[in-house]
């Protein structure tokens, strides 16, 4: 199976609000409200960590969810956000300038 890497886009506005994450695309002004699971994935999307590892290390220990199911849900989630241009997906680590540097998050 191919590896999936995810990185936050620089074009978004984002803020933690309680346990949730609010994100707005500067491209089309679409507003997203991420639940705590999705917010964890978003925060971990540094372009360097494979999605499977994010799910294994950040999601499964915190939420009572079966790893295979969690990964399938996560793949669907990142695919949806990528379609709106607020996450970048790649099969190798992401280093392009449109991804947000982790120190600024």
């Amino acid at each position: 199976m191919k590896e999936c890497y995810v990185a936050r886009s620089r074009t978004v506005a984002a803020r933690q609000l309680g346990e949730e994450m609010v994100i707005m695309s500067a491209v089309d002004s679409t507003l997203f409200n991420l639940n705590p699971v999705a917010a964890l994935i978003w925060q971990a999307a540094d372009g360097q960590t494979p999605l499977a590892k994010i799910v294994e290390e950040r999601i499964c220990p915190v939420f009572d969810v079966e790893p295979g199911e969690a990964l399938r849900d996560a793949e669907q989630f990142v695919s949806d956000l990528a379609a709106h241009g607020i996450l970048l997906l790649a099969e190798s680590p992401i280093v392009e300038s449109s991804a947000v540097a982790d120190k600024k998050s």
Partner: protein, 365 residues
């Protein structure tokens, strides 16, 4: 309930100031006849101070940041401020007259990820627009800036402040918006100057002009719905907050003064003396504003318009009492529906400084 409404409700519950309006300067290259500011540039915020404040805003949960002035692009560090704000992941809206926006500036705003730029346009006629701004050639410069920003891919809104001198021109400004692919907002709000001078209120759109606006379906959509008599008041409305000012929104001046809203001249603290979080939590003025519920308004709580009126507590304060009616909003509710307000019936909301003129309304199109 829309996602934005859910977001506001959640922020209200958490006590998060979701929106901050930051005026980075009061200096301006225009001298608009209705402007409420004095264009004093002395002792305005330094870049380092603004950086510190932005970090504090982000830590407090601020999501929407409006950068305005004065003319913000008069600051040499304006782009550095905007780029820092974007690095901190604010949703940035810029208010500018666009006179200083060339191709390079438009591209830089786009690359920074500014979500929206709002530009004041008063008329499609240069002789009207330029007479209001007192800057010869300003309409031409502004429209060129707008076109360049649109070409760069920025979302632009033409804000059309409507008053006596340009009352007949809103259709022309709407056409300019359509021609440039921009959004259009009409705003017949003229507020007293921050120094208390209310002489500029005489420029407000007369009642007949506002009545015409309220009945123009190109502006308000379904006129019957927009002008319908107020619906019955329920407990949710009575227990609700009258306005987001001081709750989820906040204003910071170029001298670091904190107010509940740009239109609410109640000083609550200064960011040169206290942290933002300290002012938010400790200001007696903000606590007082936040304690007010609709049921606490002595006159308005008994008004049939309580659930639909856009009563501005800042305008009410400028008329004497922040819990009182705002005569401008009373008049607007009346002109819209034909139903007199409690403030009018009590004889309290028809006195100067806002006689028989119009009202505070913002119609987003």
């Amino acid at each position: 309930m829309s996602l934005m409404e859910q977001l506001n409700r959640k922020a209200l519950g958490l006590g998060v100031p979701l929106s901050v309006h930051l005026d980075v300067t009061y200096r301006c290259n225009e001298r608009c006849e209705h402007c409420y500011l004095e264009h004093d540039g002395k002792n305005e915020l330094t870049t380092a101070e603004i950086r510190s404040f932005l970090l504090q805003f982000a830590g407090a949960g601020v999501f929407f940041l409006t950068i305005s002035g004065g003319e913000p692009l008069l600051r040499r560090d304006c782009f550095a401020i905007i780029e820092l704000a974007r690095e901190l992941k604010f949703n940035v809206k810029l208010k500018t007259n666009a006179v200083l926006v060339g191709e390079k500036e438009a591209r830089r705003l786009r690359e920074a990820g500014v979500e929206q730029v709002q530009v004041s346009v008063y008329s499609h006629k240069p002789e009207i627009h330029d007479a209001i701004t007192k800057l010869p050639g300003s309409l031409s410069l502004t429209m060129e800036g707008i076109r360049l920003m649109r070409a760069a891919g920025l979302k632009v809104t033409l804000a059309n402040v409507l008053m006596r001198s340009n009352a007949a021109d809103y259709a022309g400004v709407q056409a300019l918006a359509a021609e440039t692919g921009a959004h259009y907002t009409l705003d017949p709000t003229i507020t007293p100057m921050l120094n208390g001078d209310s002489s500029i209120l005489g420029m407000r759109l007369p009642a007949q002009g506002l009545r015409t606006v309220f009945r123009d379906d190109r502006l308000v959509g379904n006129v019957d719905d927009f002008c319908a008599p107020p619906a019955p008041i329920d407990d949710e409305i009575r227990e609700g907050i009258p306005c987001s000012a001081g709750h989820t929104s906040c204003y910071v001046s170029p001298w670091a003064d904190v107010y509940p809203c740009v239109q609410f001249p109640l000083p609550c603290g200064n960011l040169r003396q206290q942290f933002f979080s300290e002012i938010r939590a400790g200001s007696a003025q903000l606590r007082e504003v936040r304690a007010i519920r609709a049921k606490h308004l002595p006159t308005c709580s008994s008004c049939s318009h309580l659930g639909t009126c856009t009563r501005c507590p800042g305008l009410a304060l400028m008329e004497g009492k922040m819990r009182g009616p705002s005569s401008a909003d009373c008049e607007k509710s009346f002109l819209r529906t034909g139903v007199a307000t409690a403030g009018m019936l009590a004889g309290r909301a028809v006195s100067p400084p806002v006689p028989s003129h119009s009202a505070l309304v913002q119609i987003q199109l």
